[in-house]
Symmetry: C2
Amino acid sequence: MTTDKPLRADAQRKREALLATAREVFDAGSFFDLRFDDFARLAGVGTGTLYRHFPTREALAEAVYHGEVATLCDRARRLQATLPAAEALAAFLRGMVDHMDAHQGLARTLATLMADRSSALAEGSRALEQAVTDLVAAAVQEGAVRDDVDAGAVMMALHGIGAAHDRPDWRAEADDVITLVLDGLRHPLHHRPVRPPFGNGGHRDVAPANSQGDLR
Amino acid sequence: MTTDKPLRADAQRKREALLATAREVFDAGSFFDLRFDDFARLAGVGTGTLYRHFPTREALAEAVYHGEVATLCDRARRLQATLPAAEALAAFLRGMVDHMDAHQGLARTLATLMADRSSALAEGSRALEQAVTDLVAAAVQEGAVRDDVDAGAVMMALHGIGAAHDRPDWRAEADDVITLVLDGLRHPLHHRPVRPPFGNGGHRDVAPANSQGDLR
DNA sequence: CAACATATGGAGATCATCTCCACTTGTCAA
DNA sequence: TTGACAAGTGGAGATGATCTCCATATGTTG
């Protein structure tokens, strides 16, 4: 993590090969149909080598994911530098959906791995989260966006989009989610026409002990 | 699926035992730490029997999930009968978060299994989706909610909440997502202050061929 | 209470995962 | 260059979870 021990030229090559193959296989969606050992074969390395570099499927996924995240973060930074904050945020979110759409297989695979109880990936996405948080914060400062909702909520919505691969109308719905989120992010209407009889209106000052959430 | 072949009394009992144990284990979050065979032991049945009833972990999860969904749908129906549509929708969504919160382990486990490429679960949730769709449709008819966004988007957001278990601030963020969605669902502001330079504003008349979504 | 269908359990076959180590390949100092 | 040491490799097999099979037990029906 901290120590970037200089990898031997040899090792570097193999590692790259593994990652390249992983990308392919992920995108083709066949990652889970493949014995991990066979995956090694496919990449042209021995089992031992595979395990040395990536002890688990998740470790492999994490590495691939890192690349993705880096790209995404780059884009966020670029947008933020070019556009008014609110537009940058919108552009980023819509661009993200475009990207997922273009690489369905990869997105699907990563989402699946992600859902497994490997918080490793969750950790990997901190950078992404930071980027989103920045975008939102800038938009808030600009006054275009409400300040009573956490950027984490936006991350959750993105999670949803990623996790809901395999919905037949994915693309349209994903776009709709972004629309809802962006519209919801504008300053809330001042007259609150819908006042839920349930829950606390959605904020921090959490519920009392009685609320244990069983449905009746 | 179609044929409800009358199960032998015997079998019924075992099946129930398995489901009951599954619920417990799911909620305790220890499902994945358990050998599937040992799970059979735990429920007091032989391996063969377990496999006869539920050929895979997913099949088991699906059965448990069915119960959950039934409860949820019930609640949706009840709310819809009692409250104005918009309130019913809000109450349902907030109640859902409460429920998930109260049964974290179960929600976590189901979400994980769900993410695996078993569309079986996705299929199981059709009923739930129908319930949400109904709630939204009623609210639209009542005029409280925009009609240009599909209920599927709301499902996606819910997915996100479910999938993003293990976020440290889960509860607050989940509430925020619901808030965003509910606010976003109100009629969109008529002057569109934020006009994304990217994407199509989020609707059906989809993007031209050039858009293949690679980030630049 | 036959006689038949249906269901059971668990011993072992099967198969993916991962370890281990004898061997190969790169690196660096002289 | 080359020798010597460290770093990396591959794949044969141990390991351990999953799932099948079937002799036996248990309901069910006329």
